[in-house]
Amino acid sequence: MTELGDQGVQILAISPDPNEKSQELAQKLRARYRFLTDQDLAVTRRYGLLHARGGHKGQDVARPATVVLDRHGTVRWLQLADSIQIRPDPTDVARAVRELPQ
């Protein structure tokens, strides 16, 4: 999804990962991602994207989800995974971004 960054789109990746983990990942991906730490999953819960006890040690995690917002902050596209194996297809996300009303 790195090509999205070049289209002037802000990508915010949200997980309960602590800051140092996010920093590691950000450096590894070298992308225009900003990794945000939702440590107590408050935002994830508010968004209704909590997967309770879904972690491999039975801890709460976020359900994999991708949300495209237009520049007014309105939801235009969203994809929720119903399986932990599923990840968003960058092609679909890029298309959703391209189809945003200008």
Partner: protein, 130 residues
């Protein structure tokens, strides 16, 4: 040995399905269709089953046992373990996303509202790595 080629083919198919899935995890079309490896295990089980039915010998039983075990384990993982219960997300297309402020990787606060009227935003929620 040559008479066991269906058993060998069955085992190779199972191994190739696992290796292929692992090797191509970064390809969305493979990663997002885990039913592909289940289909491969099922075909492997059918081949081994037919071979066992024709000749009840140990290589055929081994191939049958392996492919059926993989089919059951893979099916259990795919249809039970990996499933996420239905969400009651508040997000609806056409409605505003609730605002939030969260720290970024360096600890600086980032608020969703700060991008309003400036740029589109893609939010990616992920499970985390710990």
């Amino acid at each position: 040995m040559i008479r066991y080629w269906p058993a060998l083919m069955s085992v190779l198919l199972s191994v190739a399905a696992i290796a292929g899935y692992m090797a191509l995890l970064r390809v969305p079309a493979i990663r997002n269709h885990p039913a592909l490896y289940l289909a491969a295990f099922a075909v492997a089980a059918i081949i081994a089953g037919a071979a066992t039915w024709r000749a009840a010998r140990w290589p055929n039983f081994v191939a049958l046992g392996l492919s059926v075990a993989l089919l059951i384990l893979g099916g259990y993982f795919n249809f039970v373990l990996a499933k996420i219960p239905p969400a009651s997300t508040v997000l609806r297309a056409g409605e505003p996303a609730p605002d939030f402020t969260l720290p970024d990787a360096s600890g600086a606060p980032v608020s969703l509202a700060s991008f309003r009227e400036r740029t589109p935003v893609v939010l990616v929620f992920y499970r985390g790595y710990w």
